[in-house]
Symmetry: C4
Subunit: 288 residues, 4 copies
């Protein structure tokens, strides 16, 4: 395809509607997140630890977030997470009318990402458990796709865990994007977000795998229900499935609020706002 033919391609197919572009972007970003992120869990589980472990899963999922934000950050802000999109709406950084489309695109991307992981490791899945797809027990593979609570975890502690970890996520994302704080240079925000995910996985990953993202968790869980693991993916862990869907939405808003109340509203107005944030620019165009 030469440059000229790409020109005409552009004239025919380029989307004029910015929300459609943003939906494509969130879809692709969340696809990358799950294909690579859950791929790391898959490699660890299916190799029975020979090619993976807590380090590769935590670092890998973090770098999957970084790459996904590079793919989608300039067009849609790189939320790839309904909890982030909701917090952006609540704080006036994303139009409420866009929220349903963002969330739908994120769920679809996560679902298709789970399909890719299953496809690319199809032979490995068959080898691992002789074709039997199990949710619990030593040959369980459902936790490659969605998170499940540790045996000791009560629902209330698990709910608090997901509220707190998502609150810290959003608090830090708001700090990273705040150009009147210790702002990250433009174009490096995705790397700092990756470093943030690393420490969240290392510090808050043990209770229930630190989903912090309803699309990341429910999308692939739906896939496993359909693909052969069955409805046990919803009933397991005392019907755990709704916790990483509801708690992150609350936690994200809470974390954003804490950042605004403790830090952002106290910035003096005379302080110059440096325009070194892609997110910042994007949010403005989204609001109006």
């Amino acid at each position: 395809m030469s440059w000229k033919s790409k020109r005409s391609l552009k004239e025919k197919f380029a989307l004029k509607n910015s929300l459609a572009k943003e939906a494509l972007s969130e879809f692709l970003g969340t696809f990358i997140l799950i294909a690579l992120g859950c791929g790391c869990v898959g490699q660890d589980v299916l190799s029975r630890g020979a090619y993976g472990g807590p380090m590769t899963v935590s670092l890998g999922f973090a770098m999957a977030v970084t790459i996904a934000v590079y793919v989608s950050g300039g067009v849609s802000g790189g939320h790839i997470n309904p909890a982030i999109s909701l917090a952006m709406c609540v704080t006036g950084r994303l139009k409420w009318t866009k929220l349903p489309i963002y969330i739908l695109a994120q769920f679809l991307g996560a679902f298709v990402g789970a399909v890719a992981v299953f496809g690319i490791y199809y032979d490995a899945f068959m080898e691992y458990s002789n074709g039997i797809l199990e949710v619990t027990g030593p040959n369980a593979t459902a936790h490659i796709f969605a998170t499940y609570p540790a045996p000791y975890l009560s629902l209330i502690n698990g709910f608090a865990d997901q509220v707190m970890s998502t609150a810290v996520l959003l608090l830090a994302v708001f700090a990273i994007s705040d150009t009147r704080n210790n702002g990250v240079p433009k174009g490096l925000e995705p790397i700092v977000v990756g470093l943030l995910i690393i420490v969240l996985n290392f510090s808050l990953g043990m209770n229930s795998g630190c989903a912090m993202n309803p699309a990341r968790d429910l999308g692939p869980r739906l896939f496993t229900a359909i693909a052969g693991w069955g409805m046990e993916v919803f009933t397991a862990g005392n019907n755990w499935w709704w916790v990483p869907v509801v708690a992150p939405m609350l936690g994200g808003v809470l974390g954003a609020m804490i950042y605004i109340v403790l830090i952002e509203i106290h910035h003096s107005d005379t302080q110059p706002v440096e325009e070194n944030s892609v997110h910042g620019k994007h949010e403005l165009t989204n609001v109006e």
Copy 2:
């Protein structure tokens, strides 16, 4: 909350007093440091190494520092450590009158961070030791919160260890902030500080856990004393508790002095000062 309501919120609650803002910032930064940093130790200990190890604890604590400095760096300089605040006062980069408030905010943040770690892993703590909170022995959990010396360590070696590691910390922090040296680009200082913490943990972590920070150590230790581990947290290790409080204060000042005497005072005055450091700008506003 819409943008307009946030405006009026700002008018009502925004702090005009810069010291109050800075205290909030140091409180939040140190809270993040301990909630995430001690969270990494907690995940390692409580999973008996299944989800952690020396790598996750060292990398995780370092990234906790990085994130904490991004949260608090633009407002209060991101000290999150009384040893750093003291060295800043001694070298004329922070007003002495601010020091008590900085230190108090740091201790409070660390204490509340320890509360968060205990809360978020409450079920795991109960499972781990059947509800018995121990300071020593195979089921010890007190070292999730504060540092304890290795069995072989004498008090004098331990004291020297904390003086030296904090001296290297401050020496390097001063180099990183020195715009007339090989300056770090603005907005990336927190990442380089994180890399510094990694190597300090890998090289000087074995004697006594490399606290290098009185608030990081004494705040959570106080919490454990109150929360059920008892006064043994102070008597253990030959009354170790005061070493990571006193030695870092000395070491920090020593390290800052070494950097100034060996490097900083020799910069020729004609060399242009590049304004690429948030810390640099902040310090100026704080001094006057």
Copy 3:
């Protein structure tokens, strides 16, 4: 050699032909990639895991890519991979007439890199297997140089694996170089590409070692065939050798197309193109 003698050296030997310069650059870059990357696998295998493991191989190969791109990026774009060069041609970013030379230089660089790994670890190879160079079994060393499929892997799954991983590689490389997306600051692209390789190795490395690069795989495989491992390096794994040659070429073009269709063609033309990409500049000079 003084500065003056270097001047005259330059007058005598400096290449005026830009394609010759670019060939040298791709040769050197791919040499570094293989000498360091396969060196990491060598250290892991030959020390029987004492000085290596999945972490060192994945992180090391990724950093080898980063360094190789720093060495060759400014002159030839730092493709060091025929799949990238092909995708650049297909999307009009590299002249088709340059493609054969780029690919030849990449293969030669990879071959010489394999020679270096064998040379530098000659004593270790002799010690490891008493001088017998084996392709399969517990003392196999051929996989230090080229990739081989896991025992469970069918050809079709293996082919899909190499298509998908290279597609994700190119998709992300195009995103990273797209200055109208969340652009990486100029001069830091090689680091982000390194982070991308990390997560690809952690998530898609288990099936067949994630070659994603015909030169990286076939060049060193040819060396092993000649150096004493024999023709089994081509027949092993059900004649696996052609898969990491053909599939990445397809996958790379596919990934580039997906990025263009889902993201790039929808950028509005009025959006300013920021000139913060070495790749961007280089591609323009290459096209005309």
Copy 4:
């Protein structure tokens, strides 16, 4: 000490002689390199792997280089390695008359760094081997300070190993500093050098520990000879000690030459030189 008293301090003690400043800078940088780098090896060995391993040693030594270059880069170029200083002289980037002072400062810094490691881990050394300091055997500790060859390694293979690894080091350092190549943003060179050290340790560390630096190896080796390990530190490994002293000097010059001949002399003169490198600026002032 107030700002005013520091002023007068400056007037009294500030060095006007730039070579004296540079010597202090190289001394301090190399001290940091050894105190932190060999500290990582010490933590690994003395804890018998409980708090260290190949990952912590390789990553830690690399970050020690990064921090050491941040401390010394702006004043003396941050060589902290006679092999780098020699290559800079040979290529006209450092005055030959400065070379002896640079090398002396580097050796002194490395020696004092070794003293610091021994001091800070004094109790651990005594505990480890009941006070007996051994060069070989299961309780050996001499390799904390200097490098020793693997049992299988011949002198000629070992010599080639040190030539090649230092050649790659210099080749890459020259690429990183070449503003007409894919230049690293100003102030981030030390991080990229750290990434380079990581992959060198992972790929070329098994034969003999990848010293690549005469000061890093001979300085601490001298310390061990004096401090109680005795003259066996020189005779061990078939009189290995001179290899990491001589071979890196050759390898460094070789690597610099290869970069210049394959890449640098072919840059067209009309290409603009971007001034985004601290090293670049420094070298100019040093040459005249």
